[in-house]
């Protein structure tokens, strides 16, 4: 990690945490929503810094562009006064503090249980710390950053080709033998998509205007 990346990482990490704290401290709902923009947007930048630009873009699209707009709409539609304020009692504080500590424990135990040295050396998808100049240039091709880092590999995984496993099989265009490829993620992806569709239809059904039968 070069100095510039180091500085950028800490800057956006600080913004992420600062935004999160501001959400808790602030009492004005709209300001809380804006602090969430800061937190979620900075998280997206952290993903981009890791070289996971697909996840970063998804973070922007789903959380900042989608969920947050929904939250702001909800606030605007349910607010009774012009600038709604939330006041929380001491019990709320204790309860949420407890939940926060539990989550911190879960995250910390997860982080410490991974052997990061191994993942760095593996040609894994997410472990490429390659934003910019360390990326090795492939002769006559894009470097990993220009390949979209993880995007192409993710896309191929959905088509049942796992670049992290299958690329080292020594398969060439000339070989006639059918290579043994790993199983991709097409089926799980389709199942999840259909689930989402069911949820959407269900939501539309619940939200529709109920017609009253004429008696």
């Amino acid at each position: 990690m070069s100095t510039a990346e180091f500085i950028l990482f800490w800057l956006f990490a600080a913004l992420t945490c600062g935004g999160a704290i501001a959400v808790c401290v602030s009492q004005n709902v709209v300001r809380m929503a804006f602090s969430l923009v800061l937190t979620l947007g900075s998280t997206a930048v952290l993903f981009l810094l890791l070289g996971a630009d697909f996840v970063g873009a998804t973070q922007l699209l789903v959380y900042v562009g989608g969920t947050l707009v929904l939250i702001v709409f909800g606030v605007m539609l349910t607010a009774t006064g012009p600038f709604t304020r939330i006041k929380s009692s001491a019990a709320d504080g204790i309860l949420s503090g407890l939940i926060g500590v539990i989550f911190l424990f879960i995250v910390a135990s997860t982080v410490t249980s991974v052997r990061w040295v191994d993942t760095d050396e593996e040609q894994g998808v997410a472990s490429k710390v390659a934003f910019g100049t360390h990326a090795k240039t492939v002769e006559g091709g894009f470097n990993p950053v220009q390949q979209g880092n993880t995007t192409r590999q993710l896309g191929l995984s959905f088509l049942s080709i796992r670049p992290d496993r299958d690329l080292n099989l020594g398969v060439t265009r000339a070989s006639t033998e059918e290579p043994k490829l790993s199983v991709g993620y097409l089926l799980p992806f389709e199942i999840v998509s259909v689930h989402l569709l069911v949820v959407l239809v269900g939501a539309a059904y619940l939200a529709r205007t109920k017609r009253r039968t004429k008696s």
Partner: protein, 422 residues
Amino acid sequence: MDTLLAANSLAEYLHTNGVPVVGPLDESTAMIVAAVVHVALVGAWFGLPAGLFIWAERKISARIQDRLGPTRCGGKFGWLQSLADGVKLIQKEDLVPKDADGLMFRLAPYIVVVASFVGYIALPFSDGWAAMTLDVGLFLTLAVLSLEVLGVILAGYSSGSKWALFGAMREGAQMVSYEIPMAICALCPIITAGTLNLNEVALLQSGGAWNWNILHPFNFFAFFVYFTCATASCKRAPFDLAEAESELVAGFLTEYSGFRWSLFFLAEYASMFLVSGLAVVLFLGGWDDGLGIITAIKAAFPDGLGNFIANVIGLKVFLVKSSILVCVQIWVRWTLPRLRIDQVMTTCLKYLIPISCFLFAGTVAYPLVLAKMFGQTSIIGAPAGERLVQPGVARKTTSLESNGISPAGVQVSSASAERSQP
């Protein structure tokens, strides 16, 4: 590296080859220099169209209404009018209403500006001339464009005024719903090309007008749906009811004045150009001139000055195409009456979304049906996969390809073409 492709490769170039006097830079310095260069270039282009197109809008609207428009400022055609407007706007007082949430009110214009500025990251102006050539190019651009609505809603909400709140609600509802058909229609040429990388999408259309995506029957209609939605997402008439003067004073802009007000318009004109540029890259061949001249120059000079000149010509072609689309937006604004809010929502939800879904399904099925019936995946021009491996069109193979696996979409189209030939 044969060309300087992206911020990363400019940084890489500065790091490995160095600059003439100083020599190789270290990684951080190279990255910062590359970032500054790109921000300066994109920033210049961010500011320029606003001035240019505001002048064009004044002139075109005047001509449509049988007036002269600006005539004096800056000589014959009033071409310095935008500059005069800018100077006037900066001098105005920066008002914040008493009832407003001051911090949010001041921040909102910057969110809008940042959203449309960041949208330029992945837009290629010529072969490889993008701030970043990303494989998530279109996805990232659409994601960033969806952030603009946040600034608008914040502006309306924090103004503490009913007009502003109404305007923001309308605008929010409109932008959020028009995003859906816009994204689906933008995906149609992506399916045809088989990549989200905007640079590759444009490269696949190079070589002549017969290769452009707009000649694909489903993409042809997708282009018009996309352009309608893009106009709506830029808050342009006939979808400008967020700022409907006759009912809402000026919508979410009501309380804004001076510089902050002009920031909103800077962002509006910049995103007008951005969505037009996206339309050009996705449907209209990007920087391709339509006759194959640029491709021929590139094939003759794969490296060095000739290639650079071809890129410069491509840049001009791209700018002209995009500007024409922006002028269409201006033309539509001054000739079509504004829709009502319920009509706007009906157009989107009941017509545009089903149409775009149909076009999406059609684009997916089209190459399969053609391959089954006629044995090739496109009627006019070569299949996309063959175009990619043509010499001079796209010489950059990825490392995945060199390992025997080509990018997904390309593989599908070329495979089905090969299979059909005995």
